[in-house]
């Protein structure tokens, strides 16, 4: 079954063709990063307009790369939530029209389910059940993937996403946007014990919930104190200490959940999975606990269409299709 899949939830427009959930025939991405760089972030209206301009071209290019024609498409899929609402709407409406015109089923896919499914593309042997930590600029959640379409959120951030903590810390440290990569790069030259940062604990109720807002505030306080006292800020040390604090929060909860559920497979998904400290810490924790770690290659960690096409196949098998009344949503439970 060949699925033409679209992703447009943030600043990446993507179209892909995926066969039977596992085989990528084409994976076309148009990034708007250059467009948004001058504004220091994603500007929603620009994002929506830019999606609109390129989505049709990308669809044609994906078919061409896959070496198939429109008539070969068995279903059309799209991200329908969560994301910037104007941006998501473009993908939803284009997918709806395409499905209607081709007379094939329309499959809505939750963006985070797509990120989790990126693992199916990278690791053909991986099958549910497993535990997955989904970490990106807008989301941080620990998910019990019981089957391809039956998922339970075990814990999530109570405030800021892990990626947001990196972005906002980078801003006060004067490192630009997006902040994940500059902080990661800088941290490699720094001492991860240079600053004593809090390990935000969420003590009421759910042991798997996380919090990153207090960590961001601690970084802000350190930068301000340095400015006020004229003391030189050890930026590399702060970046390294921050990566360590974020990583320890994520790894400890993920490993505790894997232990509690008895899972031997632990997966990580989303853009923040690109952070080298987080990758390294997961590798050693899984090795120590005798668990197998799955982290997709960088290209599949960011937003892409192939992951949507992968998840769409399993949603289709579960009967999750939509009609022309499908809407886009900024927020949506997994």
């Amino acid at each position: 079954m060949k699925i033409l899949a679209f992703e447009s939830s943030c600043d990446e427009t993507a179209a892909a063709v995926v066969e039977d959930g596992r085989k990528v025939l084409a994976d076309e991405i148009f990034s708007q990063v250059a467009l948004h760089e001058i504004y220091g972030g994603v500007v929603p209206e620009i994002a929506a307009r830019s999606h609109l301009e390129v989505i049709s071209l990308l669809a044609d290019r994906a078919l061409q790369k896959a070496g198939i024609s429109r008539g070969d498409i068995d279903a059309v899929a799209c991200t329908y939530a969560p994301g910037l609402i104007g941006a998501v709407l473009v993908g939803v409406n284009f997918a709806k029209s395409a499905a209607l015109a081709l007379g094939v089923p329309l499959i809505p896919v939750h963006h985070i389910r797509g990120h989790i499914a990126a693992n199916y593309l990278a690791f053909p042997e991986l099958e549910p059940p497993f535990l997955c930590l989904a970490i990106s600029g807008g989301n941080t959640m620990l998910v019990d993937v019981r089957s391809y379409t039956d998922m339970r959120v075990l814990g999530r951030t109570r405030d800021d996403a892990a990626g947001e903590c990196f972005d906002k810390s980078a801003r006060v440290m004067g490192l630009g946007y997006p902040g994940g990569k500059p902080i990661d790069d800088l941290s490699k030259q720094g001492d991860d014990k240079a600053y004593d940062l809090p390990r935000p604990a969420v003590n009421d109720g759910n042991p798997y919930d996380m919090s990153f807002s207090g960590l961001k505030t601690a970084v802000v306080n350190i930068v301000h104190h340095a400015e006020q006292t004229g003391e030189e800020l050890d930026k590399a040390g702060l970046a390294a200490s921050l990566c360590r604090a974020v990583s320890e929060s994520l790894v400890s909860r993920t490993m505790a959940a894997a232990e509690a559920l008895g899972y031997a497979h632990v997966a990580v998904a989303g853009g923040v999975a690109a952070n080298s400290r987080i990758r390294a810490d997961f590798e050693s924790a899984c090795q120590k606990a005798g668990k197998t770690l799955y982290v997709p290659p960088l290209r599949l960690c960011g937003d892409n269409g192939a992951m949507i096409g992968a998840q769409a196949y399993y949603e289709f098998l579960a009967g999750h299709t939509a009609g022309s009344d499908l809407n886009a949503y900024a927020t949506m439970e997994l």
């Binding site: 504004y39 969560p82 910037l84 600029g137 999530r156 947001e164 906002k168 900024a330 927020t331």
Partner: protein, 140 residues
């Protein structure tokens, strides 16, 4: 009216008391730097309005919607550059829905409000201490 809080919890509690008596259609403009407690205050507001769900930062999605007896629309203008962009994402439609609109980083959208908004200004006076000034609206 100016309030002083000494922890995130106290900021949240102040938000809850503040929102308990807010009229439907109220616009709450929040001002203050990173890490001043704006999201904590809005989390309190949701609790005070009887909304029972996790309130997280809307920086990525620009707006989060919370359903309750009165809906709460939680905006974050952190990534916006002007009031025009607020209108582009349907600001007027949200106003017409009769909920409470709280807007973080209102300093990024000067001119977006019509003068009937309640301004809440956050100032950091210590690592955990915050001075919170509420201009207009019911007492809390």
């Amino acid at each position: 009216m100016t309030y002083t809080t000494h922890s995130e919890k106290e900021t949240e509690d102040l938000g809850a008391r503040f929102a308990a008596n807010l009229p439907a259609g109220a616009v709450v403009a929040l001002y203050g730097d990173l890490g001043c407690g704006k999201t904590a205050f809005v989390r309190g507001m949701a609790r005070g309005m009887g909304i029972d769900c996790a309130v997280t930062s809307p920086t990525f999605t620009i707006v989060n919607e919370y359903d309750g007896p009165r809906p709460l629309f939680h905006f974050d203008m952190y990534r916006l550059g002007s009031a025009d962009e607020l209108f582009d994402i349907g600001w007027e439609d949200y106003l017409a829905r009769g909920g409470v609109c709280s807007v973080e980083w209102s300093e990024n959208v000067p001119g977006a409000f019509e003068g009937d908004e309640i301004a809440v200004r956050f100032e950091k006076t210590g690592d955990n201490d915050r001075k919170i000034t509420i201009e207009g609206g019911p007492l809390c």
